[in-house]
Every structure is written in C-alpha cells, then in structure tokens.
C-alpha cells in the first residue's frame, strides 16, 4: 500500500540517446496535453477580454486588450464571497467528521476480529458506489420529517439547511474513506497496538494516540480528495437546499448563469473563480490527490 504513495526515485545520470521514437513520443504527449488544457486556456482567454471586444470581433480573434475587469464584476454581481462562505461552512465540517468517523470504523474493523467486519466493510463500500439518485427522493422526504430546533437550522428541519447537506456528505463519503483507511491500517503491524494494550492503553488511546498519527499520509490524501469532491458537489445541495441564498458555490453557478445573461466573458470569469480553490489544491497537493485515488483503487 505504501509503495504507491512513494515514488521510486532512481537517479538517472546517463543521458539517453535521442531517438526519433522518443521525439515522436514527446511531440504526441505535448500535443495531447495542449488539447487537454485547451478548454481551460480558452476560458481564461475569454475571461480576460471585454464584452465590447468580443461582441464586435468574435471570440476567435486577437484580443484588443486584456483586463481583469470580468473577474471583479463576476465576484461582485455573482456575490461570490457569500457563496464561497456557504461552501466553506459545508465542506470543512463534512470533511473533518467524515475522516473522524471513518477512521473509527476502520480502526475497529482492522484491529479487532469481529464476525461482521467484512459485511460491514462491504456495506460501506457498496453505499459509496450507489448513484446518488437512488437515495435522493426518500432522503429529501426524510429531511422534511426530521425536525430540529431553530438554533440548529433556520428552517427547523434538515431540508433547506447546511446541516442536512453536511450529513449526507458524511454518510455518503464515509464509505470510500473507511475502505481506504481500513486497508491502510491493516498494513500497520498488529504487534504495535498489542504492545500498547499490554501496557494498559485503552482502546481509545490505541486509536487516537497510536493509530491515527501513523495514518497521517493517508489522512492527508483523503482530505485532499474529499475536499475536492465535497466542494464540487452539485446534486445534494441542488435538491436539499431550496433557498438560493444558502447554496454552496458549485450549485450557485446555476443562478450565476441567469445573473450573467449571455455575457460569456463573465461566465468564463465566474467559472474560473469557482474552479480556483480546487485548482489551487490540485497544484499544491497533487501528490496527495493522486495518492488518494491510487489507494482507493489498488489493494494490498
């Protein structure tokens, strides 16, 4: 398991002879990468141009001037700070609680041999693979049934409340995290917790002070992944939140589309601003991101 996180860094000092095949390979890869980046670069280009410029010359033309005006405008008209804040209020608690709860389950099933261990892991893994639409209708109805005091939710139920969105993220994402964490914890030598137990450490200490610190690399990878997934959620908030003002930023894009009518430059700028947090996370924590996805797919 750990092997997938570390990259074998074999220092190659010899320079290879440049063969035509190598050059062809590089040309092909550069072209493929450019084609992959083209849609994003196109959006960046459109976002930097003024409406007057593109409405006269079309989008497929050399820009007269480049400006950040569209970003400022999208930020303001779209009320983006407000929607970023909504997203923050959903993503951070959901992320932390998901990791906490799934690491507990993973610890219990990987350190103790209960008869139901495998059944439980299968339940969590299967739950994570279900298409969201399979559960969304009864969930929507269930949320209307669950009444909450006003201090927990303005709407006095789970529907139309950030808490409801947080809860479904936790319940749903737990499957993937439990699966990955339990696989990882199984690779931690059993003798370690055994020794702690003999020394009189309680189950909770074995989990919190011994196992969790050893899981730091996986937790970091999962946190990176889960951040992007929860941030990118569109469906849960769209269905479970009715008040447009409470939407997280990804689902609020839908409103922005109306606000920006047909000004494609503004839409491009708005889209890029919404993409920005995930792009930053990707560039800064790419290794964690890739490592997390790899851990989820390979086993043992």
């Amino acid at each position: 398991m750990t092997a997938t996180l570390e990259r074998p860094s074999v220092p190659v000092k010899k320079t290879r002879p440049v063969t035509p095949a190598r050059i062809a390979l590089h040309v092909f890869l550069v072209l493929t990468c450019l084609m992959t980046l083209a849609p994003l670069l196109w959006a960046v280009y459109a976002s930097l141009r003024t409406y007057d410029d593109t409405s006269v010359n079309g989008y497929f033309s050399i820009a007269k001037s480049l400006t950040f005006e569209n970003f400022a405008k999208a930020w303001e008209i779209g009320d983006l700070p407000h929607f970023y804040w909504n997203t923050f209020l959903i993503t951070v608690p959901a992320l932390l609680v998901t990791l906490l709860l799934s690491s507990m389950v993973a610890f219990a099933v990987s350190r103790f041999s209960f008869k139901f261990n495998i059944a439980l892991l299968m339940l969590f893994t299967a739950g994570n693979l279900l298409p969201q639409q399979v559960i969304v209708t009864p969930l929507w109805r269930l949320y209307r049934l669950i009444e909450l005091p006003a201090w927990m939710s303005e709407s006095e139920s789970l529907i139309d409340s950030p808490l409801g969105v947080i809860l479904i993220h936790i319940a749903f994402q737990m499957g993937f995290c439990t699966f990955v964490l339990s696989n990882y914890m199984k690779t931690i030598p059993y003798e370690l917790t055994e020794a702690a137990r003999v020394d009189g450490a309680s189950v909770f200490r074995q989990y919190w002070q011994l196992t969790l610190p050893l899981c730091r690399p996986v937790l970091a990878a999962l946190a990176t992944l889960e951040f992007t997934w929860i941030y990118n959620d569109f469906l849960w908030a769209l269905v479970l939140i009715q008040d447009g003002d409470k939407m997280p930023v990804t689902s609020a894009l839908q409103n922005l589309k109306g606000t920006f009518f047909t000004d494609n430059n503004l839409i491009a700028a708005g889209s890029l601003l919404v993409a920005l947090p995930t792009l930053v996370v990707f560039f800064v924590l790419q290794r964690q991101f890739v490592g997390g996805l790899t851990l989820g797919s390979t086993k043992g």
């Binding site: 992959t36 497929f60 929507w140 839409i267």
Partner: protein, 317 residues
C-alpha cells in the same frame, strides 16, 4: 509463461501475516467495549440512516402513488403500476435509457482506451513526465457542472471555439441540436474522465512485476505481445476497478446535462428523470422512485461482482 504461475507464490510470503483471531473481544474491559461499540455504532447508524434506509425507501415508494408533499396516509399502494407505466407509456424513459447506454459505451471505449494508451506511454523513464501527468490530471479536479460551463464556451454557436476552428459556413449548434448534443456533452465528460482512467492504469502498470515482462521478452515476445498477453491480463484488478468506476460514472451523470439545459431536448438521462420529481415540475414520487430502482438494479449489477472480487481475497486469509 511459467512466470505467470510463479507470481502468486512469490507474492504470498510478502503479504501481511495472518491475524490471530478469537478471544480478543472477550478480553476487553467494560469501558473499552463501550468505546468500541460507539466507534462502530455511530458511523454505522449515520450511514444506514442516510444511505441505506433511503435506498430501501426508494424500493418501497416505487410501488406507490404519492405526490410527496402530503403525509404518509396519502400514499396509495399500486403494486407494479409505476413500472408498467414507465415501460409502456412514459415518453422520456426509453430515450433516457438509450442515452445512458450510449454514455456508458462511449465512456467505456474512448476515455478507457485513451487513458490506457497515455498510461502506457508515460510508464517509463521520461523527461517532463510529471508535467505531462499534471496537465492530463487537471480536468479531474473540476466539477462536472463546471465542465459544462467551460465547454459551453467551446460549443456555443455564436463565436464558440469549435465552430471558429472548423470555419463552417453554417454554424453548428452543438448543444441546441438534439441529434448531436449528447455526443458533444459526452466529449466534455470524457475529457474529465480520461485523466482518472490514466491514473488508475499508471498505478496498475507500476504494480506489475517487471520480472514478468522480462521473462516474456526473453521468451521472444514482442512489445505488443508482452502487453496484450502478459501485462494487460495481470492488471485484471485494475480493469475491474476501471469498469466499475466507468459504469457508476455513467449512471451518475447528471450535473453536466443539468447545467446545460436541465436534461431536455436530447439530453434526457435516467438521473434527470429521478431528480425532476423533486425539483422539477413532475412531482410524482412513485414514478421517480421506480426509475431510481432501475438505476439501483443496474448499479448493483457491477457493485456486487466488485465487492466479491475485493473481499473474497480477505475471506481466505
């Protein structure tokens, strides 16, 4: 070919030592038992309440007629009526099934082969390999909703990139024309999916024992023979993951068509039909749930074999 048979033997000793079973649970102190029960109980309760109980709810409601607004006493149980109606009368159902199937086939063919090809090309000592990988992974971090927005700038008939590059006299309305919009949207979805497949295959290729490839080439196999007869079959676990991920992705597809035109006019998908009953105008909970159950049935068709493959190894140790 002997190398293939040797592999499991070589792997077995390096695996984790079998855990000693039994007796542990009884040796726990009272508080420890309680702590463990909570550590398992709370997450399981949350997961069951919000994921599996609604799933069963979908199955139950699929046999009912209900508008979802009134109380439970308004539920009218009508047996398989919803299914009969969906299969025989509901005009959007069969197009949606067809679109989902095309979506699935497209994802299974295009991003999978592109991702596999790129992974094979990148799985070697190569300068700039990390840069190439970063560029190819990047679309993966964008939400499908955002992908929809970004690609609309390419497809839009007035000054979109694609029409301008093609330089056609009559601009094509890539998103408005119901004959082609599904394909246009699938290309955008595949754009995002390819990086993920490449990542999975790169990890898979790295885990293939180099001795296998060496043995094959010593036996006189060509590079392509080695790949198709040795490497690819050995990657069976990765192939299964790719298949599962792709099927689930195809069934979940929703955000992108919803931001483009709310899943109408050629972009109907099963997921849209379900969602329309809650946030759309239809509000027929029973019929929506029946579509959800159809989605559930198809997805269990891949989830169960996947679980079997992943956890059967575990039973043996």
């Amino acid at each position: 070919m002997t190398a293939l048979q040797e592999k499991p033997k070589a792997v077995a000793p390096s695996g984790p030592p079998p855990r000693r079973r039994g007796k542990r649970a009884t040796a726990l102190a009272g508080t420890d038992k309680l702590v463990l029960a909570l550590m398992l109980g709370i997450p399981t309760f949350v997961h069951l309440l919000f994921v599996w109980i609604p799933t069963l709810g979908s199955v139950a409601l699929s046999f009912s007629r209900w508008n979802g607004i009134g109380g439970f006493e308004d539920i009218e149980w009508i047996g398989v009526g919803n299914y009969v109606e969906i299969f025989t009368e509901y005009p959007r159902f069969w197009p949606a099934v067809q679109h989902n199937l095309i979506w699935l086939l497209f994802l299974l063919v295009v991003p999978t082969s592109a991702g596999l090809l790129l992974a094979v090309l990148l799985d070697r000592e190569l300068r700039f390999s990390r840069i190439y990988q970063s560029a190819l992974y990047m679309p993966m971090v964008l939400s499908l909703a955002l992908v929809g927005f970004i690609w609309q700038l390419i497809y839009t008939p007035d000054g979109g990139l694609l029409n301008s590059v093609l330089g056609l006299d009559k601009p094509v309305d890539w998103i408005g024309d119901s004959d082609i919009n599904l394909y246009a949207v699938m290309v955008a979805a595949a754009w995002r999916h390819t990086g993920y497949i490449m990542l999975l295959y790169l990890a898979g290729l790295k885990s293939v024992d180099p001795a296998l490839k060496e043995a094959a080439s010593l036996d006189g196999a060509s590079a392509s023979q080695t790949f198709f007869r040795v490497t690819f079959p050995v990657m069976k676990p990765v192939n299964i993951v790719v298949a599962v991920v792709t099927v689930i992705e195809a069934l979940r597809a929703f955000d992108i068509v919803y931001v483009i035109n709310k899943g109408r006019n050629g972009l109907e998908l099963l997921s849209v039909l379900v969602t329309d009953n809650i946030i759309g105008e239809a509000s027929r909970i029973g019929r929506g749930s029946a579509v959800a159950v159809i989605l559930l049935t198809i997805s269990l068709g891949v989830i169960i074999p996947y679980l079997y493959q992943v956890f059967s190894k575990e039973n043996r140790t």
